[in-house]
Amino acid sequence: MQETFLERVQDFYEKLVFTYGTTLLITYAFLAALSLAAIIHFLRRNKNIDYTSMLDSPIVPGISVVAPAFNEGVTIIANVRSLLTLNYPLFEIVIINDGSTDDTLEKMIREFELVPVDFAYNIKLVSQPVRKFYKSTNEAYAKLLVIDKVNGKSKADAVNAGINACAFDYFLCTDVDCILESTTLLKLIKPVMDEEKHRVIATGATLRMANSCDIDQGVITRVRPPKQWLPRFQEMEYLRAYVLGKMGWSWINCVPNVSGGLGLFDKEIAIKAGGYDHQSFGEDMELMTRMCRYCYTNDIKYAIRYIPITLCWTEGPSTIKIFMRQRTRWSRGLAQLMFAHIKMLFNPRYGRMGMVVFPYNFFFELLAPIVEFFGVVYYITLICMNMINWQFAILLLVFVYAYSVMITTLAILWDQITFRYYKSWREVASLCLMPFFEMFIYHPMIMIFALRGYYYFITGKKHGWGSMTRKGFGGNNAGAAVAAAKP
């Protein structure tokens, strides 16, 4: 009797996992097709546009670039200079010094000839108190506004202070150490200005690793895939997530998240939705969810758009320790978000967000590491009990392996169709190799770090704001590792 029951449980579990896996594979295939359509559509529509000729137009909407900085003393000058090279007719750069304990602020004051100013600051979003505002006496840095505030232990808190001080209707949220392409603002505002029926509340673009790129004066001069294996895995993962994933979701207006590294947002909606949640570990996704929720509640027909071109380069973690810290925080943020907004799951009131985006994130992002973990345990148990059909097991493993390699290779192909970022075929080949090792090296790490994040979420373990240890880009900063202290 007991044996029959166990057999039933086993049969049920196997069928459940089979259905889960099949749905996931079908979804990936579906996304691959959608993203290709979206990329082709984007390329056809944009191939004749001369962006440079629009860069002096007096009728573009203004954009505030918001970039928080915490203990970025080694790289801050180069990073701010990089942001100042942005090309757009009407913009300002708002740097928020989030109570740095190093010389970040002093360096900026010296380099950019900053003086304290009386600034009328309207607190629409809650953040830690602002100590001072600084503007430059040098006309060359007139676009720069520096906010010095008490440390809020999160990027969200710093960005909220920045949004409060923004002058324009749109803000671009980025990390101060990200390197942006000079026409980023125009390329990101285009989907907003080009939309016929919806209010575009956020736009994003592809991010890449800057680790092995040639950088001169804060400008990328030569794109290369990272030489180190860990950042190269991340480059591969980013391409799959942005070029294949988000482009596919964008095509059906179901983008789940606009990256914290690079995202342009409608300030009014962001403020009305309550701004960034400083307690969240996935503040970018959390804000996006609340913005969508606000739109549904207020009958605003919104859209979130992605473009396949790379506009932002960021330094990816190159050691397992930092990588683990980053992924643990991300997965903890995802768990927080899912539980905070669980009412949206399969709730038709929230349209596509409730019926597509949320279920996808819940089942295939949140639950995936758990399903995988139990799958591995189950597998090992079957092996130990000699209950495994090796022939079928190997065939199925080969299938999953071949499928995952195919999906990632397609993402690389889509990226190559968008633009040939890498100069030589060797560089492309070095990236094409990564999917073959992903299943054995990179993916297990992601799974373990995700489970660690869930554990921290459940136990409520204190987890400091993960400012990443950075090496800095090029010049004098190369190799000068910045061990950022954790607040």
Binding site: D118, A402, I412
Partner: protein, 386 residues
């Protein structure tokens, strides 16, 4: 499944002896594995091919572009006959390199068109005219016109871009229908071309446009209108008064401001009675930028009935006009309003009055609350622009 079985089962039967005996799930997995492997290798092939084709094309261009550059430099830019004042249409251009069979190939023709357009963007006047003559002499205009008749919208767009860049006239009958095309890119490019090429009424399509002019369309149109030479600028008040297309009206308001068309003020003033907030907001903005002082009283009189966006525009307009007639109104709004943006814009407008508001500013700084004093100092600081 039946089809898959029909096509693939014999194949697998050959190589997997037990294929038929496998459960259906395993059979599907084998099938999909094969498809995945094939798709992966196909992806590699496409990546390699695209890189090869792209590099080859770049190399080919690198080979012929110097020849084209030399020809254009020697025979167009440094043309001796042009230097002696000979009219462009009487200059005979040597065919030189273009007599080679290579230059009859389609990709070379396209490269030549692109190179001529590249130079044409940088050279106007007689050199520009001579470049156009080269384009016509080489019968490249026929290539562009042929492309204009294509059924594919992207080819049409490319043709319109080329013809516009070379300032070739296109019959209204061919281009006007395209300005209302259902395809946004084609519609947009046709409008650009019409403005640039139509000698009589370049803005005629404003009368027939039914689709909205999106913000990006407006950006591109604005650029073309304001940078095209020898274009006859009409009184845009005509569309402000008669157009039923809201986006056309809003766009015309921007053009009126750009060209400082003071004669359009009465037409804009009528928009203040419009029920549409968006139009009213744009109209108030335009009146302020035009410094339409006669409308000042009306702006103040309607202020209390307006939504916040229009109220802010009225405050800004009063500051831009800077007549000093409504300083008391601005003072009142600055002191009494609970809204931060209203107070900030009122303060900015008071400061914009410069000498006229000096005593009022002093009084406000002396008596204002800490927050209001901060707003005033913010607005008075020349380092803070926004």
């Amino acid at each position: 499944m039946v089809l898959a079985d029909y096509f693939f089962a014999p194949f697998f039967r050959r190589y997997f002896y037990y294929f038929d005996s496998y459960p259906i799930v395993i059979q599907i997995a084998i099938l999909l594995t094969t498809i995945a492997v094939l798709a992966t290798f196909s992806a590699y092939a496409v990546i390699l091919y695209r890189r090869y084709a792209g590099n080859r094309h770049e190399k080919k261009l690198a080979r012929i572009n110097p020849d084209l550059d030399n020809y254009i430099t020697e025979n167009i830019i440094l043309n001796e006959q042009l230097a002696t004042g000979e009219p462009v249409n009487q200059i005979v251009l040597p065919m030189g390199i273009f007599e080679k069979s290579l230059y009859r190939r389609r990709w070379v023709q396209q490269a030549t068109i692109d190179r001529i357009i590249h130079y044409r963007k940088n050279f106007g006047g007689e050199i520009g005219g001579l470049l156009k003559k080269l384009y016509i002499d080489l019968e490249l205009d026929k290539v562009s016109f042929k492309r204009l008749k294509s059924v594919k919208w992207d080819k049409k767009v490319k043709a319109l871009k080329e013809l516009t860049a070379m300032d070739m006239s296109i019959a209204d009958v061919n281009i006007l229908p395209l300005t209302n095309s259902k395809n946004r890119e084609l519609r947009s490019e046709a409008r650009h071309a019409y403005i640039k090429l139509s000698k009589n009424e370049p803005f005629k399509f404003f009368d027939i446009v039914t689709e909205p002019l999106l913000m990006w369309d407006q950006l591109e149109l604005f650029k073309i209108i304001t940078t095209t030479k020898d274009i006859s600028i009409p009184n845009f008040a005509r569309w402000v008064t008669y157009s039923s297309n809201k986006s056309v009206v809003a766009f015309c308001l921007k053009l009126i401001v750009h060209y400082n068309q003071q004669q359009a003020i009465p037409a804009i003033e009528k928009l203040l009675d419009s029920k549409d907030h968006y139009l009213r907001e744009n109209a108030i903005n335009a009146l302020g930028k035009l410094k339409a002082e006669d409308t000042e009283n009306k702006l103040v009189s309607i202020y209390s009935n307006q939504p916040l966006t229009c109220q802010l525009e009225i405050l800004k307009a009063l500051g831009r006009m800077g007549t000093g007639n409504h300083l008391e109104f601005l003072r009142h709004e600055f002191l009494r309003s609970a809204d931060f943006d209203v107070r900030k814009n009122a303060a900015k407008s008071i400061i914009n009055h410069k000498a006229d508001s000096a005593s009022l500013l002093k009084e406000l700084l002396d008596t204002a609350t800490a927050e209001n004093a901060l707003i005033l100092k913010h607005c008075m600081n020349p380092l803070i622009k926004y």
